[in-house]
Symmetry: C2
């Protein structure tokens, strides 16, 4: 085929016709019932044709690749520039901000980039949306609002967002940390937004001012006020200590910095263990890896450490090291992955047993020392507490979350915030107690109120059509509808037995059997339903859905605002543009070492390599940008071809 | 074409023949002189054929890519394993090393990995080659010796080797640091060698013991002795301070750690400069980048910082920041890149002038403060020293080299080591004064002796055929030949005027005109020639060539050794297997911001993008592994498509 392609124009027509014959051989490739059995001659022709097609395919493939590479080169050549920047318009107020607010700090009402281009100039008149944090929640908002909706500013101590679910992979070098992060500046570029690299420390809600702590080059802290019209708090959480002493000797795995530190320590341990100056006892301690917490992060980290030993350490370090490696997972519950289905826990436990990863369940970590972990278990027969120690030089602490300082500050500012681990928000994600529609909180730092009883009076107000102060069954049905709309998390508890359940609930709590619920009876009923609602877990999935919900709502509010403003009407309320936030659990997944488990509610799925590839592809599709997608794919291929990078950096 | 491919077997033969007609249209693509002018019908057919071929090409390209990806997947699937490691044979001596030597330290005569496989067991009987360092020189040796030649151990505080010429690119994120490094363990795997992660601190030459300082997990230092038969010192150098105070406020660019720190500081400066709390004066200071040293490293770093501002900062930071950026290069000589040809210096200076990169030449840095650099220039008219200051928050110090502690220790141990900046070696790279053939030094830490006069007596011994104590012209010619062989660096100075020069030199120094040189006359002559020889520059190219030369020689020695040993003869000397080291300068190159310069001795070449791609491809081909090649290529493409990563990590 190639031969026909290339020298075509040099031959007279007849020659080409002869040359054009081979495609007619195609017929020999199709085996029809009437065709003769293949002779040697025919076999030769078929082979030749096949060879030609193969050659042409290869040629085309190379051609396609060359065109691709050529295209990349040409594109690349246009990415270099030496244009000069001349006059840049900057408002004097941006250069010399006024002071004000309760602490008389500079108020950043105009930013230096506010007049950089037309879109930014136009944005100056828009309501100021300030987003605190740069994680899943914040990025969810940034991805769903539209350019021109708001004057967007993001306040974050990190200048990037992190794909947290793959941190365990980054901790051993299966993927590179740079493949998990995307610059926030690049994400907000779409919205012509701006980034302030700092840490929110306080709010003045009456003046709508956010106090931001920035660090200047000399290390000096300088606080400023950032005015907002809408504030989104999405600062995440810190690890919970559970009051265990010695946690300063533990690693955590919440940031890429943590992943880098873990990777350094793991390789350090292997290097130290291979030194001639290391004793046997010390070698075993260096090669003992302890993970406290049997949730997905802990399990995946243990699995990744196992992979590292199995696939790379064994090849490039003395074999004795691989033999001396021990991995422990200490879990306070009876099973690891206890939020997953039972079959999944079992599968993961079996897999770990085969891999010699030791699971210590129903155990409590008592203390962490620089060279060992002390934990206790209870004797199943006597109930006596037994103390154990594991000598180790690597402890990962991955259990529970706690408030960060800003979250506690916000919580303390508001009178009716009582939750200990997060800011309470209503079903519309508005911070309870803050001026309505000014402040939102999403992700790990927020928890949606589950109390229905606190809405008792307004519910009765709406449902009690005949104004008799009691709720009959018809009114109860209205109320249920209302509760479902207002607090979607209560829906399952009201719905489970459908209407029959609504009726039975009604009858159950109608203690005086007057076929109506009085306020007392209602209060008891709503209280008990509220108690049954479990808070949403502190996962990326929840934060992301909340962010997207909020971003969508903010966009709708912005769209309505302009119409209402033109008609001289006040802004719309959240309820007017969107329903309450409704979490849809899409499933949980976890990597357990050349195998993966999926829990899609009713459907569980677990398996080996195929499941691992499925696990990868789900995370791959969840990436925030094409850049991280490309980099992740490359990382996985590079690991396959050359193994993990064992350089301790 | 695709349509014929896919459903082929579903059609009866006749149909396929009809379907096979299109290829016959090929004839219409060939324009023969007798063919008719193209009509609309013919045009249609030609177009259709062209479209079919294009479609088939695309299909094949996609197919080719799919096969490639499928292949990668299949290969990947076989890289996971859960094999168990059972018994690992380890010598008791490796677990409990004996103590000995002057300091009674553990002697690592057997390592824990020494019995891991057959090749390692066989290697135990081979002479022990210990290489100190993991840079260009060490890798040169590792790449050229053969598996089985020696029992190879490498001692290095870093576990990887670095492609140093691209560090300026890594310092701004054009390439990733991980793309510049390759694990030493992976490099020595080919030789079944082992790595000791430590720092050489001392040598006991009489006992052939290298003292290595290792750091255990608690931070405690533990020293051990490592026995050697052949020792290669390739520890590189540290930056020279030139006695300037305040260098602790400067960055250096010798390691990937330096590159990471620089990248962090640069992005820090931009983030701080964009804060509303930053004053105008402070912003200009934060955006002022000062490079001290106009050699390739300094120039390339300045160029890369310029690129970063020009291509990325301008897109994602307020435009005011780009405007306020200033880059200074302070050079003590009259021109930057002063070791390159004049045309190149000029070209680079012109490019920098166009780019607003300020060059301060003939200037001396007097002092570096945390917030400014003080330098002096001399008034060209009055000769008076004038002091200048540049406010800055980033100073790179990239000028000159100095001995590291181990190098000075080795130097101090030997009586005839007088060089202040490196270990003196003979033309065979053997450390002067050390037991002959035991210790070699290569790269930045070594300098080849240029003194010919010290060989005076042996030269006369050999050349003075008639034993009259004088050297006549015939004997002088023998002596010149000998000098050229023994000290190749002297060759140019003896050769330049070819034989006529040899004669003229002879006549010039024959002060008593007796047509013979007596010892005094010879001493003066050789002394003066020696003074003219310039030491080899401290570059990667020199280190790499020395490493490869030495590796090759060590291989030849190993090959000879076995033959000689079988015949009961002593080992061969270096002179018996290889000539003296002869450096061949392959040219110098430098990147100067979307442009590059090349100096190939007589030929200079400089230009814009095309030169930049040429510069990249030279460095690309110089990579130590396919892995770093692939990663570098990816980095360059990623920069082109998505720009540099602006995340401060």
């Amino acid at each position: 085929m190639i031969s026909r392609f290339a020298p075509r124009s040099h031959f007279p027509l007849q020659r080409i016709n002869i040359g054009a014959r081979p495609p007619c051989n195609l017929r020999f490739l199709s085996v029809s019932p009437t065709s003769k059995p293949p002779g040697p001659n025919r076999f030769l022709r078929v082979t030749r044709t096949a060879a030609k097609y193969t050659a042409f395919t290869c040629f085309s493939a190379v051609l396609g690749l060359s065109v691709l590479i050529g295209g990349v080169f040409i594109h690349d050549a246009f990415t270099y520039s030496d244009k000069h920047v001349d006059r840049v318009p900057v408002s004097p107020l941006a250069l010399h901000p006024e002071r004000g607010g309760p602490k008389n700090l500079p108020i950043a009402s105009v930013l230096v980039g506010d007049e950089d281009d037309g879109a930014l100039v136009a944005g100056q008149d828009k309501p100021r949306l300030v987003i605190v944090g740069g994680g899943w929640g914040a990025v969810g908002v940034l991805q769903t609002i539209h350019p021109g909706d708001y004057h967007v500013t993001i306040v974050s101590p990190d200048t990037f967002t992190t794909f947290t679910p793959l941190l365990p992979s980054a901790a051993v070098g299966t993927v590179s940390v740079r493949s998990l992060i995307e610059s926030l500046r690049k994400i907000i570029a779409r919205l012509h937004g701006q980034l302030i690299n700092g840490r929110a420390v306080d709010i003045v809600m009456s003046d709508r001012l956010l106090e931001v702590e920035t660090v200047c080059a000399t290390g000096e802290h300088r606080n400023i006020y950032l005015p907002y019209d809408k504030l989104v708090i999405a600062v995440g959480s810190v690890s919970s200590t559970h009051g265990v002493p010695g946690l300063e000797h533990c690693f955590q795995l919440k940031t890429v910095g943590d992943a880098q530190a873990i990777r350094r320590r793991i390789l350090d341990n292997f290097e130290s263990a291979s030194l001639p100056s290391t004793s046997e006892e010390e070698r075993k301690r260096l090669l003992s890896f302890v993970v406290c917490g049997g949730g997905p992060t802990g399990v995946e980290t243990a699995a990744e450490i196992f992979d590292l030993c199995q696939e790379d350490i064994i090849k490039y370090f003395p074999k004795l090291l691989r033999k001396d490696v021990s991995i422990h997972v200490i879990q306070s519950r009876e099973h690891i992955l206890n939020t997953y289905s039972e079959a999944i826990s079992k599968y993961a436990e079996d897999k770990f047993q085969r891999d010699d990863v030791e699971l210590v369940t129903s155990a409590r970590v008592r203390e962490v020392h620089p060279d060992q972990v002390v934990y206790t278990t209870r004797d199943p027969d006597t109930g006596k507490v037994i103390e154990h120690t594991i000598p180790t030089n690597f402890v990962l602490w991955s259990t529970g979350i706690s408030m960060n300082p800003f979250t506690s500050r916000v919580s303390s500012l508001l009178p009716n915030q009582v939750h200990k681990k997060a800011i309470e928000v209503d079903a519309h994600l508005r911070v309870k107690g803050a001026p309505l529609g000014d402040v939102y909180a999403i992700g790990d730092c927020a928890t949606i109120e589950t109390s229905i009883v606190s809405h008792l009076l307004e519910l009765v107000e709406e449902a009690d059509r005949n104004r008799d102060g009691k709720i009959d069954f018809e009114e109860w049905e209205i109320m249920v509808k209302r509760i479902k709309k207002q607090i979607p998390m209560a829906a399952t508890h009201l719905e489970k037995a459908c209407n029959s359940r609504v009726r039975s609930l009604f009858d159950l709590y109608d203690s005086d059997s007057d076929n109506a619920l009085n306020l007392n009876e209602l209060a008891v009923l709503l209280q008990e339903i509220g108690n049954k609602i479990t808070a949403l877990p502190a996962t990326a999935q929840v934060a992301s859905q909340q962010g997207k919900y909020l971003g969508h709502k903010l966009h709708l509010l912005a769209t309505k605002r302009d119409v209402l403003l033109a008609n001289g009407l006040p802004s719309a309320t959240d309820e007017a543009v969107a329903g309450a936030f409704n979490y849809r659990h899409l499933g949980s997944l976890a990597y357990i070492g050349n195998a993966a488990v999926f829990d899609f509610g009713r459907l569980s799925f677990m398996g080996g390599l195929a499941a691992m590839y499925a696990w990868r592809s789900i995370y791959w599709s969840e990436q925030v940008s094409m850049r991280t997608r490309a980099l992740l794919m490359i990382d996985w291929v590079v690991r396959g071809v050359w193994g993990r990078d064992l350089s301790r950096l």
